[in-house]
Symmetry: C2
Subunit: 334 residues, 2 copies
């Protein structure tokens, strides 16, 4: 309590113990040969006096920062927020264990100046990209600079370490279950095909039809639904075509679809069934409860962080890691 202002340094410890800074450093890092008794003494002193090495100085000497950069987009829908948040929680959990901290970078889609600044200032040892694009300036920049990085979510760029849920399989399994339950006319509503993830989901949808040797009806697939007007129009079309079930590629779309159905006086699941993709708290209050895929986003974040730290420490890492999912059947498809 007495000396809050002046921080104790490695020299102080060395002087107090009558050894060299080298020895103190070795006792702490565990690197290099050092007498057992000496190490104990140093460690005991450090413990007692609550000495913490200055990470900044350590970093300068080792050309490391013990920070990782997490890049988040500056524009996003409410529905994305829990995803980013949970991913960051997972990242933080792993990073914290390894004494790394998270430096936040908020980037607009086509403006990577923020990321560039952080990299040029050498403020981080690696980067996690929380959202990627089909054509992605961040990925190109980081690859070129040879900075360790990993993407959360899939990308088609080569030689990029990526961690993702298996959206294709997930969508295939969900669709297959619905088909098996006798629904034939299933509509699919999705967002921008500029996102690899939406392409993958669509692919899973098609595969489930292929698996049973049927054709899906391309008139019932509505992609690139950006904005409520588009969604409402899609629902109008759907209602005119005796569709049995609607699969929404995310909970924001689902939320809007539910609203529109209510407006049109349609009951779920009696008039039409519906399934969604994230099981997020956004739909928590829905009545009836909504059948949905469930992904462990925190796990996704944790895994991406593990992969990044491994890269930073020059270990081999798998280029692609696919995490599992669960299909949660609820009332909306009964």
């Amino acid at each position: 309590m007495e000396n809050e202002k002046k921080n104790i340094t490695i020299s102080d410890v060395a002087d107090a113990l009558g050894v060299s800074k080298t020895t103190v450093s070795r006792a702490i890092s565990g690197k290099g040969r050092i007498g057992d008794e000496t190490r104990q003494r140093v460690l005991a002193y450090i413990e007692e006096h609550d000495y913490k090495p200055n990470v900044i100085a350590k970093g300068l000497a080792q050309s490391k920062t013990f920070n990782i950069c997490v890049v988040m987009p500056s524009s996003y829908a409410l529905v994305d927020l829990p995803f980013f948040q949970e991913a960051i929680m997972g990242i933080q959990e792993i990073a914290g264990m390894m004494e790394y901290d998270i430096l936040l970078c908020i980037c607009q889609e086509n403006d990577i100046s923020g990321l560039e600044r952080i990299i040029k200032n050498r403020k981080v040892d690696g980067v996690i990209l929380l959202r990627t694009f089909v054509k992605d300036a961040q990925i190109e920049f980081l690859s070129n600079k040879q900075i360790p990085f990993v993407t959360v979510g899939s990308t088609t760029y080569k030689n990029v370490v990526q961690v993702d849920n298996d959206h294709k399989s997930a969508c295939r399994e969900l669709t297959s279950i619905l088909l098996m339950r006798g629904m034939e006319k299933i509509a699919l509503l999705g967002g921008s095909e500029n996102f690899v993830v939406n392409q993958n989901r669509f692919r899973g949808f098609r595969e489930s039809y292929e698996a049973i040797g049927k054709e899906y009806d391309s008139d019932l697939v509505f992609m690139n639904l950006e904005g409520k007007a588009f969604i409402d129009r899609a629902v109008d079309t759907i209602l005119s075509k005796d569709v049995e079930c609607i699969i929404c590629m995310d909970d924001a779309i689902c939320s809007q679809v539910l609203r529109k159905l209510r407006q049109e006086g349609k009951q779920v699941p009696t008039d039409i069934k519906i399934a969604s993709f994230y099981n997020s708290s956004l739909l928590e209050n829905s009545l009836p409860s909504i059948t949905s895929l469930d992904f462990d986003t925190k796990e996704l974040g944790a895994e991406s962080c593990k992969n990044l730290l491994a890269q930073i420490e020059s270990q081999e890492v798998a280029e692609r890691t696919l995490l599992s999912y669960e299909v949660i059947m609820k009332e909306s498809t009964k």
Copy 2:
């Protein structure tokens, strides 16, 4: 493009120009006397060769990091997320302009070990607290350590720099408007009184009654509503008492109230009117649209960051900054 690996340093610049490192440093920082022509030469060379000083080294020499820590709670409701997010956007905007970066710290309510680690590791120059408690371990720790910090939201701790929206006035004005429109029996639903903000809102509510010389009905005030069951029960009571309007202290409560009212077959605003507090995207899809207070959270974040940076640079800052609000009347109180 040729030398991506090896970074150019101040020595390289000095050597190339045949001047000393001191001179280069001065040309960049603008501190200390330096010949005009010399400065131009250095600056031109730097520009041409895209030299960026190593911020870490600079920080070590100046005992600064050019990072600020933003502390977020690890547990929160979906409704809080847009708030945190927007505040961070505002912080980032100001911090970025001053070449500061954001280090994220995710803390559980009573566990400040993450924050302690960051501070002890000297990774940041100051801290922004995004959520505070009536009894707050973070505030006590930071005060004791004499680390510059500011809270977003009010606190009753002394000598703490805080930036907040004027929730008391906001709630008073909203209530006054409703009273003036002839509603007399107004119910108030709020969250935990452990949050200073909820106490302030309640205070504003009372003041609006005082202003017109009436008593508010304490049986219609429901605080500490944690969880849906409590909210539903409050609504039951409210419906048994001919209440004309319900004020919800946040959009999550409002969302649940709306759901319950729908279940009970009550129409808004014909059977009962309702107003809420955040105008957040959570209620965006509501029909009818919900009368609400509106706060500029991004501005709140920006202001808190300005105050922190001023503190870090040892400038005088106001202990308390109150930001404005707007009352947005919509269909739910017609």
